[in-house]
Symmetry: C2
Subunit: 337 residues, 2 copies
């Protein structure tokens, strides 16, 4: 038997080669055509089992082993961050001759499983997905079927699935230092519940930067990343004496802005604000926001490059790509002498 590179999907040709028969014989054997001798049939079916060859790809594989389709699963499209990611992936995929089909998972592990199953049924050539900590099992199944897959934005702990993630440490560390310099301590931090790698990593980055700078790191609100939670969380942090707020994603940033306007506070005067993501919504504020900016464009490019390498059976250059964040300076941290 020949060896095949990991993660490349076995084709009918691979099965035929492993069983030492022609492609048409392999095809007939797999469809139990009575023309084929029993011993040959068994031989082909054993080869198919060993190679984890998926029989439902068979008809298509006969003509063309590719569907030129990529499946993309994202948590939501209300967050412009994911809208931009989907758009960039689709545009780059198109340049490479691929159709992109997008599925929204609503942060629900069951819906992510459904999306993955739909992608398998649609015989996509590869998937780019934003995983959830509870999606380990569904993802392992994809890997075992040798379907190319890349995680983006978030990653699964101890997984062999290649990932492209944002490193929030540089910008969060710089934000903490600037807020200290501007005498905006104590700093409040709005983060998500700890069921995604991004929430966990951002919280750790803040705690680490605060400890190193010897300031308090106990003003943290853990909640879901949505508008109401951001608004309520910001109000609570202000009540607890926070002089500045770092919001851990774009939606909680919008929530914090809403809280400030409700309380009649102007960000950059009574309260300092560092938001997350450099989006349209933050550029149409009376004072442009200081934000932790993730390079969605570069991340999307890297994910498309990785999935194309995997689809083409190439050895991938890197299995975990970290994209640094940058602090984009607006006017919501007061200038201090």
């Amino acid at each position: 038997m020949t060896h095949f590179p990991i993660r490349r999907k076995a084709t009918l040709k691979d099965v035929a080669h492993a069983a030492g028969v022609s492609i048409s014989t392999a095809s007939r054997a797999l469809s139990n055509n009575p023309i084929i001798a029993e011993s040959t049939r068994r031989q082909v079916q054993e080869a198919a089992a060993k190679l984890k060859y998926r029989p439902n790809a068979q008809a298509r594989a006969l003509k063309n082993s590719r569907t030129n389709t990529i499946g993309v699963a994202l948590p939501n499209l209300q967050n412009p961050y994911f809208g931009q990611m989907a758009t960039t992936i689709q545009n780059l995929g198109r340049q490479a001759g691929f159709i992109t089909i997008i599925s929204i998972t609503n942060e629900n592990p069951n819906q992510l499983n459904e999306a993955i199953n739909a992608f398998i049924a649609q015989q996509v050539d590869g998937m780019i997905i934003v995983p959830h900590n509870d999606s380990q099992e569904a993802l392992t199944a994809v890997v075992e079927q040798h379907i190319p897959i890349v995680c983006i934005d978030r990653e699964i702990k101890d997984s062999t699935i290649p990932s492209v993630v944002s490193d929030s440490t540089p910008a969060i560390t710089e934000a903490v230092h600037r807020l200290i310099d501007a005498q905006c301590t104590p700093i409040g931090f709005l983060t998500g519940v700890q069921n995604t790698s991004t929430s966990q990593q951002r919280t750790k980055a803040f705690q680490h930067a605060a400890k190193k700078a010897q300031i308090s790191d106990d003003l943290i609100i853990y909640d879901i990343f949505d508008l109401a939670s951001g608004e309520n969380g910001a109000e609570e942090l202000i009540k607890k004496g926070a002089k500045s707020i770092i919001a851990g994603d774009s939606i909680s940033t919008a929530g914090a802005i809403r809280a400030f306007y409700q309380l009649g506070m102007i960000p950059g005067e009574e309260i300092a604000l560092v938001g997350f993501d450099n989006f349209l919504i933050f550029s149409i504020q009376p004072r442009p926001l200081t934000v932790i900016s993730q390079d969605v464009e570069t991340m999307s490019k890297q994910a498309v490059k990785l999935i194309m390498e995997l689809i083409n059976g190439l050895v991938i250059s890197e299995s975990r790509i970290l994209t640094p964040t940058t602090l984009e300076i607006g006017e919501t941290i007061p200038v201090q002498g």
Copy 2:
């Protein structure tokens, strides 16, 4: 030969029935199995041609005539309006047991054609799409293949394709009256290039309301709906003496806000503003916006209801559903005595 309702996709069963043979005979005849007599084969293939039966659906149709998949094609996901539409359609589809696959067309008729072809290849049971005035041909091909299709947000002139569209007249008319009452004339109007039904309809609604109220309707900027065009257009309207601006979509509204802040103008004081769509981005302004609000939720529900009726071969209740807009009052029109 029996008659089939318009728009239902012909199944292998239909072909078998029309040719007066069993389903398995029809299947064998269509795959040129030599077991089948030449005369039977010809008979079946003629029936298939008459019914516009698509041979590539054959294998699947044998097991199950449905893929339980809906394809949704949208112009872009940077506009939260379409993000919300995609999310609502997917959630409702899921409740009906359907997987939704989404494709972004970047306002490009070629990309819409590609998306439609991909949906056909993926054997979706139906499509919900936002058409472009130049997509008539691609859409006609879908209809001729009897694949259920519904247009949403925009419609194609003189087309038989069912559509669910927003009627901007009620809210635009009310906006014009309120701006006149608040002495904010002349009114400037930001609209899109006239290659979609929505741009055309909104422009007409403004012109009609202005003429009826006997005010000038010549302060109109026709440009693409994006941030820069909204910003430049608003500046130009102000230079031409506009005392208020109605922005014809959400992105041009954001552009207008940017222009006001650039010029140091506060919407609701020096200039009145009526935006489009009641989105997050407008609720986090220091003064909440007065907006023309489209009922995306209801439109999405109606489109899903229509596509399900078509998929199930039912006679649809209405082929053109108009959803009225409402004016949501914020604080960007000054209050006058």
